[in-house]
Symmetry: C2
Subunit: 408 residues, 2 copies
């Protein structure tokens, strides 16, 4: 008897009809003799509606109370889904995060899971019940409700699967798996049948919106196979994400992702000032930014030999104003002579485990972009990924030419 | 420093504007140096909306999941109200029933409070916080959410006041206290300034809709003064309900209440059959009805000397069909010869502690009704109450003439 964790997002459970449709996926696995745990999000746009109502009250509400309010969304879904399953003649029971309990740290609105007590759920499964758990929420050690931020329900599902030592975690979504790129931008996208966790991690963190990197990370660390499938297809093959790199078809490139709204900042340092004050060390710049809560993405440090030293890095555009303000305020301390910036950039990433064993992928990538008249503003590479910052208006073209080159 | 518990119902917290209006009552008491605990219901018609949504899924849903769903209503209110108070510069914290914890038995949808752990709330009050608690809900000893049924938020408030040994419990409502009768039916109703718990208990159980008898009972047992006030008046005198019978103004009659939709059933027994089978004992009839979940109200047993014995009793009309079916099925067992019934009756009740010391109230009541051409189908009296079943179409007239007699 296998234990299967299934997760259904907000659009999959948006109304009563859809709730009953979701029951088909649940009872199919249950009828085949499996133990099934279901994780659900809030129905449709419920969470957005609650956030809007908060806006009527306060601009910066207490994060604790924000979590109390938002957590009602999933609570409504679990009760309704349990009723639907019971109506179909199945024994089902709902759990809020605090009832599991699913213990988190105390970071309201962005909590991380610390521990899951799976005893009660196991007992219910052994008694033939289908167990339904709220996604996106837990409880801290003081008994306060916490929520998880973006991708929270996926994270709940994979973490529960890990705690239950489940055989797999199925993430149901509105597309039939992970595609080689965004079908709304690129023609001829391919569905990827199997993928390794590392590739998915790169894709997830680079803007592929199907899975959040937090849940892929847990899947990787606890060896939980994640199966991304379509809610709206009776038998969806989807994409299977597993830890094992070797057993996969050897695609050089498994995906091409895009992330819009990037900005680049370049700090040009005065070498004499720097030597005198022992400043202009990269660590000083990035410590300053970390202290002010700025998330830095790509970092490039170039030509160290001349009178000027450059440090360039990319950030999300929404953080540009704040970051510039901080850098200008502490200009003296970090020994900066000039601070340059450019906005309106997109990050294109080419990801694939096969890259490691295939020389020249970077060279081909740069050549293809050059031939299409696309400027590369920053480049960053890892073992299985190449990321390039390009002008936003050339980003879709860049994705298409790279997809044509590698995936066709 | 006094501890005050305030309760606001659904219409008092229906939208953001009203939530901020409610804050004025809370902060007024807090600013005067009191410790304030606030109990709230679900906003406006939220609970009705949730019940309607359940109707789309199941006719007889699991009571456990029903409670999980319904309890989200108050949860939304506590978070929003805490945010409102924080926005006004006050330190506020919300508690769900399970966070208090407010321990109940396991009777879903109709749970009774067993124990309230007040330690955390006391600590928060001592730290200068305003504490906001969900009405209507608690948690059983197995960690399941339970709700309380009708009047549940009032009950929560008075029970919390008892647990905290509070100085008083203020119940805010949309009228300015308890009136001598229903102002929608009777002209010249009087507001009652003070009232003893026993009178309120009789009025509450007899259909006066302002306070539920459960909460009055707790107030009586734990000696918590209950102050019923208007949400929508800045300084409402309202009605104060206290245990002490002696300190009250000596009104003979404090109120006249009406309860529609009553039915009367008469079981006529065959004396010979009864003697042979040792049946036709009242306990047999009422045990039968209790076993089938029928709540009986007034019971009258008359003339025992003839060949026929009558037992008459009243029930809510919605239980009439079920009750007749049960009685007919077990006709032989209870030794019944005939089963008669009449529907379309209303119960008029005249209540007042003063009645005990004022002879002739019953006589006057019956005379007034007789002179107005109102038939009395059943009569029941207690120390402080006279109830009469009359035809529904004469009920309002009965209330008016009795009110004119006793209250003007």
């Amino acid at each position: 008897m296998a234990i299967i964790v299934q997760k259904f997002g907000g659009s999959s459970v948006a109304d009563t009809e859809k709730l009953f449709a979701v029951c088909k996926h649940i009872t199919r696995e249950f009828d085949q003799g499996n133990q099934v745990v279901v994780v659900v999000s809030a129905q449709g746009k419920t969470t957005d509606g609650l956030v809007k109502q908060i806006g009527e009250i306060a601009e910066t509400p207490s994060q604790r109370e924000y979590d109390v309010l938002l957590s009602t969304g999933e609570q409504i879904t679990i009760a309704k889904l349990a009723m639907c399953l019971q109506e179909l003649g199945y024994d089902a029971i709902s759990y809020m995060g605090w009832q599991v309990p699913l213990i988190t740290d105390g970071n309201h609105a962005n909590a991380r899971i610390e521990y899951i007590e799976s005893k009660n759920i196991r007992a219910d499964l052994d008694n033939g019940k289908i167990v339904i758990v709220t996604g996106f929420q837990g409880v801290d050690r003081q008994g306060n409700i916490t929520t998880f931020g973006r991708g929270g329900s996926d994270t709940t599902a994979v973490a529960l699967a890990a705690a239950l030592n489940a055989d797999k975690c199925e993430i149901y979504t509105d597309v039939d798996g992970i595609f080689s790129s965004d079908p709304r931008i690129i023609t001829n996208v391919k569905k990827i049948e199997t993928m390794c966790s590392d590739e998915m991690l790169e894709l997830a963190s680079l803007g592929a919106k199907v899975l959040h990197s937090r849940c892929v990370e847990i899947g990787k660390n606890y060896d939980v196979p994640i199966h991304v499938k379509s809610t709206f297809m009776e038998e969806s093959c989807g994409t299977l994400i597993k830890n094992d790199r070797d057993n996969f078809e050897k695609l050089v490139i498994s995906g091409i992702a895009k992330q819009d709204n990037n900005s680049r900042i370049t700090v040009i340092c005065d070498k004499i000032l720097c030597e005198k004050k022992d400043s202009c060390q990269p660590y000083k710049v990035f410590k300053l930014l970390a202290d002010h809560g700025v998330n830095v993405d790509i970092i490039v440090k170039s030509h160290d030999g001349t009178a000027e030293t450059d440090i360039s890095f990319s950030i999300e555009s929404k953080e540009l104003d704040k970051t510039l303000k901080v850098l200008k305020k502490y200009k003296q301390d970090i020994g900066a002579k000039k601070i340059l910036h450019s906005d309106g950039l997109s990050k294109i990433s080419v990801v694939g485990v096969g890259m490691v064993n295939t020389p020249g992928v970077a060279a081909i990538t740069f050549e293809v972009l050059h031939n299409s008249g696309i400027d590369m503003h920053m480049i960053s590479t890892s073992e299985i990924k190449i990321s390039i910052l390009v002008d936003a208006d050339k980003a879709n073209l860049a994705m298409q030419v790279l997809h044509d080159q590698f995936m066709s």
